[in-house]
């Protein structure tokens, strides 16, 4: 039986089916072992320059506002924290932010919240932020790719984002991820 063009053409569906089948198999295996999560959202912002966002107004008596330029012009790493007074995980996160505020520079962005409520909330929790910007419409959050609050970013001098967390900051994350990055920077700086 000679191999004709017809044979090659009719073999194409088999190849396509086999490729899809192997793919599905790998996905299922990955789902079982946890490598493959169809609902995963990745954070393409890591390693990039921070996005441009309009200058954010500050909160009276608590901290002045900032813009992307001020953030880039810093000489020390800055932990940028998106928060709101209406968000329960933010309330839980606050005491921890206060404890690490001596070690790291933390700037807050108040996401879709009223100024007086946010101010009262931050005041009550010991004001861990050196600077606070207000983002009442959530436009800056869109630029940063924030999907909810709280989310935090570690920004290096010059504006490179080296870390992004989309959950409340906790002790483990700080000890094993953020502190090493801060130490690395200190060593480099001499």
């Amino acid at each position: 039986m000679a191999l004709t063009r017809r044979h090659l053409l009719t073999a194409l569906p088999v190849i396509g089916t086999a490729a899809l089948g192997v793919g599905f198999w790998e996905m299922l295996k990955g789902m079982k072992s946890g490598h493959f999560d169809p609902h995963a959202v990745d954070t393409p912002i890591i390693g990039r320059d921070l996005p441009d966002f309009p200058a954010l107004e500050g909160l009276t008596d608590l901290g002045e506002g900032f813009s992307s330029e001020t953030l880039r012009a810093q000489t020390k790493p800055v932990l940028v924290n998106f928060m709101a007074s209406w968000c329960v995980p933010c309330v839980l996160e606050m005491p921890f932010l206060k404890t690490v505020s001596s070690e790291a520079t933390i700037w807050g962005i108040v996401y879709k919240d009223k100024a007086e409520r946010a101010a009262a909330f931050i005041q009550r929790n010991g004001a861990p932020y050196q600077r606070i910007g207000q983002d009442p419409q959530g436009t800056a959050a869109i630029e940063w790719g924030v999907t909810g609050v709280p989310e935090s970013f570690l920004v290096m001098p010059g504006g490179k984002i080296v870390w992004h967390g989309s959950a409340a900051l906790d002790k483990d994350t700080f000890l094993y991820t953020i502190r090493p990055m801060l130490n690395q920077f200190k060593e480099k700086a001499g």
């Binding site: 017809r6 044979h7 009719t10 569906p13 599905f24 996905m27 789902m31 169809p38 995963a40 990745d42």
Partner: protein, 662 residues
């Protein structure tokens, strides 16, 4: 009396059905091998008994649900005493286990239909072909019945027995959704029969016009149900989810659209096999692909691979089982195709490029391209993540940019295609006949440019008018040629309806592209204006339902100080599930929908404000109206039992001639 329909009886009946399906697969196979007609003919009675066992089993599950038997895990997890009776019954297929049993039941009923039809008349189904089809269907049944018993037993018991069930997802408590799954599944599963016919044809090594007739009819039946099912699903998402949209390009929606597109291609190519004995190999491949797509849809939804809003309880173990079944059914059939298809004799009737066949080939190319595009868009995100670790989502912009350019030529060909004659068509008289539709299309294109402000949407609207006008014109032309005015062949009516249905849906989609919406924070007594209407939030009050409490708003819509409608959108709270649903209020006059949703309620001291979403959706009802007309066309064509001996006869002559002159 009802004692004989206990859950265990249901499980035993399911096991019996599995055994019967096994014999339905094996005995006729043995008969075909050893040429024993008695064994071959046993296929029909086995298929009928299998279907009866499945009906019994399914009835047991319904009885358990109706009697609130919470010792059955499936019912305890999905039902509750306070649930309205209708939803106790329909809730049986609202979950994974029950829906799999329904799936199997429909497959069994299809087997039974194959066993019972084509016993006499011109389109008699040859005994060996029937047996082969039943063997294939039996094999598929065995696989899924094993799946049901081993991994998703709907009759599994629960101990200790809870006093009340956990209740159903309130979103599913809706008459539209209650009957959506059975209809959709009938569509999906119906494609198993063309698949079985295709495998039988490869096995027998013979395809003729009669085969085409059977495949076309089964495809039309499945297609009509699938059309109905998709239409209902889309309507449900429009008025239940309250997002104001009708199609979200969600993977699960695409999983139903892919078989629909390939099914549409299949029913047209099977027509060519039936009338002209051409495109045989292609039709076989489409029939195999169509059911494979239906199955993959089921698999992908239930394995949780696709990131979708439609959630079934995901379980990778089940996923592996279905994937193996899928591998055997699809992979096996594709290998069989690669092995046998090249040796199928391609002695089809020849045709000129400008002919009905030519137009149908173009139709197939375009529909399959559409299908490939939707498939690519759906499978791209999981495969990108698997291969390159990138997560991304493919949505409306991609599908709009790729499907609209393919739909435009499809609509164009639809207008021409119906007017062309078989084999070789003369273009000049057709073009003369089409001048009026063409003029109408251009006029409506220009008119809609003013109204829609979008070139592509206006073009689609103009082409939809073109399809309607050309189909009606052709119908009128052919009707004149008939001897009796009262005996219009039903296939002509069917084609007319199906094509006009497509055009009406397209018009609805074009209208929706001009939809307007706004989200407002309203206080009682406040006015808003949208799309030339004045919307006033009159009042909000509390309403008690059977298993929920609701906040109901009264919105008065008026135009030029005349009240157009009083709308009552609700926000229902289901205490048992601690879940809220938004009940949309829609006021329609079939040319436009006014659509109002009551969202969050903010209590700010003495002032209470309500978030309202208001939509004005022009021509929205046409989207679903078109779908129902399409399905109606499909059902009407099924009542047309005529089979042309002409094509079969011509093919026999060709065969005889070839043998005579070697």
């Amino acid at each position: 009396m009802l004692e004989m329909f206990g859950p265990e009886n249901g499980l035993f009946a399911l096991a019996l059905a599995t055994i019967l399906a096994f014999w339905q697969c094996v005995i006729p196979l043995w008969g075909l091998r050893s040429d024993r007609l008695r064994l071959i003919n046993m296929a029909s009675s086995l298929a009928i008994s299998q279907a009866l066992a499945l009906i019994y089993s399914f009835f047991c599950l319904i009885v358990a649900a109706a009697r609130d038997d919470f010792s059955v895990r499936n019912i305890a997890e999905n039902s509750a005493i306070s649930k309205p009776f209708l939803y106790k019954i329909t809730g049986v297929w609202g979950n994974h286990e029950g829906s799999i049993l329904l799936w199997i039941l429909i497959l069994g009923l299809c087997s039974m239909a194959v066993a019972l039809t084509g016993r006499r008349g011109k389109v008699k189904l040859p005994a060996t072909l029937r047996a082969r089809v039943l063997v294939v269907l039996g094999a598929i049944s065995v696989g899924f019945e094993f799946f049901c018993i081993l991994t998703s037993n709907p009759f599994a018991r629960l101990f200790p027995v809870p006093s009340d069930g956990m209740g159903m997802n309130p979103l599913l408590q809706d008459p539209g959704l209650a009957f959506h799954p059975p209809i959709l599944y009938t569509g999906y599963v119906g494609f198993a029969v063309p698949f079985a016919f295709a495998v039988a044809a490869l096995w027998e090594g013979r395809v003729n016009a009669l085969w085409g007739w059977w495949v076309r009819n089964w495809t039309v039946a499945a297609w009509a149900f699938l059309t109905c099912g998709i239409t209902m699903g889309s309507w449900w998402s429009y008025y239940i989810l309250g997002w104001g949209g009708y199609w979200f390009w969600d993977p699960v929606e695409n999983a139903s659209l892919i078989p629909w597109l390939s099914g549409t291609a299949l029913l047209h190519s099977a027509l060519v096999v039936e009338k002209r004995e051409s495109l045989k190999v292609w039709t076989i491949l489409l029939a195999l692909a169509c059911f494979s797509f239906s199955l993959s849809g089921t698999f992908l939804v239930r394995s949780g691979i696709l990131n979708s809003v439609h959630a079934f309880a995901n379980d990778p173990a089940r996923g592996i089982f279905i994937l193996s079944l899928l591998g055997i059914i699809t992979g096996g059939s594709m290998v069989l195709f690669a092995w046998r298809a090249p040796s199928l004799v391609a002695e089809g009737g020849l045709f000129a490029p400008i002919s009905r066949e030519g137009a149908l080939v173009v139709n197939n190319i375009l529909l399959c391209s559409l299908c490939a595009v939707v498939l690519t868009g759906t499978m791209y995100p999981p495969f990108m993540q698997l291969l390159f670790g990138q997560t991304l989502s493919v949505g409306k912009p991609f599908f709009d940019a790729t499907t609209i350019p393919l739909t435009i030529p499809l609509l164009l060909v639809m207008g021409f295609g119906v007017g062309l004659s078989w084999k070789h068509a003369k273009l000049a008289p057709l073009l003369r006949r089409l001048s009026v539709p063409c003029a109408l299309a251009i006029i409506s294109f220009i008119l809609s440019l003013f109204w829609l402000n979008s070139l592509l949407a206006s073009l689609c609207a103009g082409l939809a008018i073109w399809v309607i006008a050309a189909s009606l014109g052709d119908f009128w032309f052919r009707r004149k040629a008939l001897t009796s005015l009262w005996h219009i062949p039903r296939f002509m009516v069917a084609t007319l309806l199906a094509h006009c249905g497509v055009a009406i849906t397209i018009l609805g989609l074009c209208g929706m592209s001009a939809a307007q919406q706004t989200v407002v924070e309203a206080h009682k007594g406040e006015h808003f204006s949208l799309a030339g209407y004045d919307w006033k939030l009159q009042n909000v009050h509390t309403v008690d339902g059977k298993n929920y409490t609701a906040q109901q708003a009264d919105i008065i819509v008026s135009r030029h100080h005349h009240i157009v409608a009083v709308m009552h959108p609700e926000k229902r709270y289901f205490e048992q599930q601690n879940q809220s649903t938004m009940n949309v209020s829609i006021h329609t006059n079939f040319l436009r929908d006014l659509y109002a949703v009551l969202g969050d309620i903010h209590e700010d001291g003495a002032q209470t404000s309500y978030i309202l979403r208001l939509h004005d959706n022009p021509l929205a009802p046409w989207i679903w109206l078109g779908g129902l007309i399409m399905a109606l066309g499909g059902f009407i064509s099924l009542t047309h039992r005529r089979f042309h001996k002409g094509a079969a006869h011509a093919a026999q002559l060709r065969r005889a001639r070839r043998q005579a002159s070697p």
